[in-house]
C-alpha cells in the first residue's frame, strides 16, 4: 500500500538529531569553516557515543534478515533510518556530519564486498573504544569518474603472504582520520593488472598506521571545510593477503571477471542515496532558514494564490519547497528499495542527480533572496551554498549519474553509451 508515514524509531531519531544539530553543531559550524584542519572534537566525542552504541555502522546498514516473534522476516528499515540520520545531521552542519566517526564509506565497501569474516574483523572496532574512522580511496590525480583508469597497483609479495600496494589516492574523505589519526582503515581500490581494466580493480583494506601509507596532503576546499580531505600515498605498502575484500578467488582476474569492481558499484547503490540525503539536509537548512527569516520580515507564503497575486519571492520559495520535497521523495524511494533488497541502481542514481541539482538551486537561491545578508558571513547561508556545491560532484558527478540513469532507461551497456 502506498504510504508516506514513517516508522516511529525513525521519527524519534530525527527529533533527537535535530536537537543535536541545533545545540551542538550549529553553534560551532562557522568556527570549523574558518579553521579548516582543526578537528571538531566536541562534536566527534558526542556523536561517537551514539554511533558506537548503535553498532558502529553509520554509512551502511546491517542487512541480515531479522525475524519477528512468529518467525516472519521483519521489514528492514536500516537505510531508511540512515538516510534520515544523514539528512538531519547535514541539516545541523554538513562539514561536521562528514567528520562523524564510524564505519563510514570504507565500512560501506566492506559491507558490500567483504566476506562475513572480514565484516566481523574490520567492522567490530566501530562498536567499541575510542572514535575511529574508515575511508574509501578510489579517485587518483588523473582518474576521477573514469574509475577504470586507476593506476594504483597491488601485487603479491614473493612469498605470497602479502599484497604490496603502490600509488597515490586523492580526495579521500576522512582520509587523515582513517589512515593516521585513529585505529581505523582505508579501503584502497587498486589494480592487479593495469591493462585488464575494470576486471582487475579490487578493494584492499589498509589498516591505519601501516608502514608505506602516508597522508601526503590535506586539501583546502570551497566548502565542507570541517571535513578532512586527504591525499594518500602508498609506497611498497605491505598488507596481509586476506585484506583483499571478498573471497580469495576474486584475485584471479580471468576467472572472477569484474566481481570486485561490481562490488564498488554495489557500494554506490547504497551510498548514493545517502549522499543525496546529505545534500537535502543542507537544502532544508537553507530553505527553513530563508522561509523563517523572510516570514519574520513580513513575507509569508500563501499556498494556492492565483499567479497574479503571488510575489516573485513567494513564487521562488514555493518552487524551492517543491523541488526539495520532490528530491527527498526520490531518496526515500531509493532507500526503501535498498531495504527491501531490490536492485536500486536506477533509483539511487536518479535521487543523486536530483538532489545534487536541487541542493545547489535552493542554496544559491537562498543567498539571492536574502541579498547582502545572504552573501555575508554573519549568516550561515553563504556557507550552506558552498557546502551544497560538492553534492553534484562527489559520489559520482551529476553527469556520471545521468549516464547511469540513461543506460538503464535505454538498455545500453557502458560500451554503447559512453
Amino acid at each position: 500500500m502506498i504510504d508516506f508515514d514513517l516508522p516511529t524509531p525513525v521519527k524519534r531519531q530525527v527529533q533527537f538529531i535535530g536537537m543535536l544539530g541545533e545545540q551542538v553543531m550549529r553553534p560551532v559550524a562557522r568556527y570549523y569553516d574558518e579553521h579548516e584542519g582543526e578537528r571538531p572534537w566536541e562534536y566527534i566525542n558526542l556523536i561517537w557515543q551514539t554511533v558506537r552504541d548503535q553498532g558502529g555502522r553509520n554509512f551502511s546498514a546491517d542487512t541480515t534478515p531479522k525475524l519477528d516473534k512468529e518467525g516472519k522476516p521483519r521489514p528492514r528499515i536500516g537505510y531508511l533510518m540512515l538516510a534520515h540520520m544523514v539528512e538531519a545531521l547535514s541539516w545541523g552542519d554538513a562539514g561536521l556530519y562528514l567528520s562523524t566517526p564510524g564505519s563510514g564509506l570504507g565500512g560501506a565497501a566492506v559491507d558490500a564486498t567483504g566476506t562475513p569474516a572480514q565484516k566481523e574483523r574490520f567492522l567490530k572496532r566501530f562498536a567499541e573504544g575510542e572514535p575511529k574512522w574508515s575511508a574509501m580511496a578510489m579517485t587518483e590525480p588523473h582518474a576521477g569518474s573514469d574509475t577504470a583508469a586507476i593506476r594504483t597497483t597491488a601485487r603479491l609479495s614473493d612469498d605470497g603472504s602479502a599484497w604490496i600496494l603502490n600509488g597515490e589516492k586523492i580526495f579521500v574523505t576522512s582520509g587523515a582520520m582513517a589512515a593516521r589519526d585513529s585505529q581505523g582503515f582505508v579501503v584502497i581500490w587498486a589494480t592487479l593488472d593495469a591493462k585488464a581494466g575494470r576486471a582487475a580493480i579490487k578493494p584492499f583494506v589498509v589498516e591505519a598506521g601501516t608502514p608505506g601509507m602516508t597522508v601526503a596532503k590535506l586539501e583546502h576546499k570551497h566548502g565542507i571545510r570541517a571535513s578532512d580531505t586527504a591525499s594518500i600515498v602508498l609506497q611498497d605498502c605491505r598488507i596481509p593477503r586476506d585484506n583483499l575484500l571478498g573471497s580469495e578467488e576474486i584475485a584471479d582476474v580471468r576467472a572472477a571477471g569484474n566481481k570486485g569492481f561490481a562490488g564498488a558499484m554495489r557500494t554506490f547503490d547504497a551510498t548514493r542515496p545517502l549522499v543525496a540525503a546529505s545534500a537535502l539536509g543542507i537544502t532544508r537548512a537553507a530553505l527553513d532558514f530563508t522561509v523563517q527569516y523572510l516570514k519574520e520580515r513580513g513575507v509569508t507564503i500563501h499556498y494556492g494564490l492565483p499567479l497574479h497575486q503571488q510575489s516573485a519571492v513567494e513564487r521562488d520559495l514555493m518552487q524551492m519547497e517543491a523541488q526539495h520535497r520532490a528530491a527527498w521523495l526520490l531518496v526515500l524511494r531509493a532507500v526503501t528499495k535498498m531495504d527491501a533488497g531490490e536492485d536500486n541502481a536506477l533509483e539511487a542514481s536518479m535521487s543523486k542527480v536530483k538532489a545534487g541539482q536541487v541542493a545547489n538551486f535552493v542554496a544559491q537561491k537562498a543567498v539571492e533572496l536574502l541579498g547582502p545578508e545572504g552573501y555575508s558571513c554573519t549568516l550561515l547561508v553563504e556557507k550552506w551554498m558552498r557546502d551544497a556545491r560538492i553534492n553534484d560532484i562527489y559520489e559520482g558527478t551529476g553527469q556520471i549519474n545521468r549516464l547511469i540513469v540513461a543506460r538503464r532507461l535505454l538498455g545500453y551497456s557502458s560500451r554503447e553509451l559512453r
Binding site: 502506498i2 504510504d3 516508522p7 494556492g304 520532490a326 526503501t336 545521468r402
Partner: protein, 364 residues
C-alpha cells in the same frame, strides 16, 4: 510504514486502465484532435471501467474505499497516458458528481448521484473558470445573491466542458466573501450556453462559454445546504487529479521520444547513443518520477484526512512544470518530425501548456 507499492487491487485497476488507454484512447487521439470530436463509443466503453463510481464513497452508492484518492491518481495517470482530452471528457461528470459526493447534503446526493452511477455515460459538468487573465477562484466575478428564499446567479464562465449536452452543472460563484457552489439544471431561465470554444490543445473536448443573467435557484440548490462548502478541500482534490493527469501526459511524451531516439539513426548510430540526448531523456524520466511521487503524497494526505493544501499546491505546480518540460523536450528530440502533426509529441506540448489553465481551479 512508508511504501511506494500500490495494493494488488490498485495495481489491477492501474493495469486495466493502462491497457484500455493503449488500445482505445491512444489510437483515437490523433483523429479526435484533428476533427475536434471525441468518439462516443470510446467513452461508452471506457465508462464500463467504473472509474467515477470508484471515486464515490460506498455510503453514497459508489465503491470508493479509504484509499480512493490514491487509486484515483493511479487511474488518472494511465488514462492521460492514452489521451488527455478524451480522459477529461470521460471524467467531466466527476466535476459535477465528486463535489456533491464530498460536500452535498443527503437530499442532493440522493437526487443526483444515481445519475452518475448508472450503466451509461451521462454528461454533467461544472462551470468554474472565468474568461479573464487574472481569474481568482477565491474571488469570483460570478455572484450569488440571496433573494428571499432563493439565490440569483449572474456572471460569465468559460471552459465549461460538455456544457451543451449537460443535464445539470455546478456553478461556482462568490457569495459574500466566499466561493459557493450551486446546482443549476439545463434550461433554467437566464442560463445561456455560448458558442463552442477553440483552444490550442484539448481540441477533442468540447468546451463552452456560459452566461448567467439572474438565474434564480432555490436555496436547496446551494451545495451543502445552509452550511455551504469549504471550497479549499475541493480545490485540493482537483489539484491532485490534475497532477496525476500531467504525469500521464509527460510519461506518454517521454516514452515516445525514448523509442524514437532508440530507432532514429544519425551519423551511423542511434541518436540515443549521444550523451546530449541521453541526458535529456534521463532528466525527463527523473522529473516524471518526482512529479508522480509528489502527487501520490498529496493524494495520500487526502486519503488520511490530513490538511493537504500545501502538498497539493506544490505537487500540482511541480507536475505542471514537469509535463511542459518533458513535452517540449520530446518535440526537440524528434527534431523536425516533432513539429509535424503526424507524430503526437506536438499535440502533447499543446496539451501540456494547458495544465496551468484548464478547469480553472488549476490556476492556483
Amino acid at each position: 510504514m512508508i511504501s511506494f507499492t500500490p495494493t494488488e487491487e490498485q495495481q489491477l485497476i492501474s493495469d486495466t486502465v493502462r491497457r484500455y488507454a493503449a488500445e482505445r484512447l491512444r489510437p483515437a487521439a490523433h483523429d479526435a484532435d484533428e476533427t475536434r470530436s471525441t468518439p462516443l463509443e470510446v467513452i461508452a466503453r471506457c465508462w464500463d471501467l467504473g472509474l467515477l463510481p470508484s471515486a464515490i464513497p460506498e455510503v453514497d452508492g459508489g465503491f470508493g474505499d479509504a484509499h480512493a484518492t490514491i487509486s484515483g491518481v493511479l487511474a488518472a495517470e494511465e488514462l492521460a497516458y492514452g489521451d488527455l482530452p478524451i480522459s477529461l471528457y470521460l471524467l467531466t461528470p466527476g466535476l459535477f458528481g465528486l463535489p456533491i459526493a464530498h460536500a452535498g447534503t443527503a437530499e442532493q446526493k440522493e437526487r443526483w448521484l444515481p445519475h452518475l452511477l448508472g450503466d451509461t455515460f451521462a454528461p454533467y459538468t461544472a462551470a468554474c473558470i472565468e474568461p479573464i487573465w487574472n481569474f481568482d477562484p477565491t474571488a469570483m466575478q460570478t455572484t450569488a445573491t440571496r433573494d428571499g428564499d432563493s439565490y440569483l446567479l449572474s456572471g460569465q464562465k468559460a471552459y465549461v466542458p460538455l456544457a451543451a449536452d449537460a443535464a445539470a452543472m455546478l456553478i461556482y460563484a462568490r457569495e459574500g466573501q466566499a466561493t459557493q457552489i450551486f446546482i443549476v439544471e439545463r434550461g433554467s431561465e437566464g442560463l445561456e450556453i455560448l458558442d463552442r470554444e477553440q483552444h490550442m490543445g484539448l481540441r477533442a473536448l468540447p468546451t463552452y462559454g456560459v452566461r448567467l443573467e439572474d438565474v434564480r435557484e432555490a436555496a436547496a440548490a446551494r451545495l451543502g445546504g445552509e452550511q455551504g462548502i469549504d471550497s479549499r478541500r475541493l480545490l485540493d482534490r482537483s489539484r491532485v487529479a490534475l497532477g496525476a493527469l500531467a504525469v500521464g501526459v509527460a510519461r506518454a511524451a517521454y516514452e515516445y521520444a525514448r523509442e524514437y531516439a532508440l530507432q532514429r539513426e544519425a551519423f551511423g548510430k542511434p541518436i540515443a547513443q549521444n550523451q546530449a540526448l541521453a541526458f535529456m531523456l534521463a532528466e525527463m524520466a527523473i522529473e516524471i518520477d518526482a512529479a508522480r511521487l509528489m502527487t501520490w503524497e498529496a493524494a495520500w494526505q487526502l486519503d488520511q484526512q490530513l490538511d493537504a493544501t500545501r502538498q497539493a499546491v506544490l505537487a500540482r505546480q511541480y507536475a505542471d512544470e514537469a509535463v511542459l518540460m518533458v513535452a517540449d523536450r520530446a518535440v526537440q528530440i524528434l527534431g523536425g518530425h516533432g513539429y509535424i502533426r503526424e507524430h503526437p509529441v506536438e499535440r502533447w506540448l499543446r496539451e501540456a501548456r494547458g495544465f496551468t489553465t484548464i478547469l480553472g481551479m488549476a490556476m492556483v
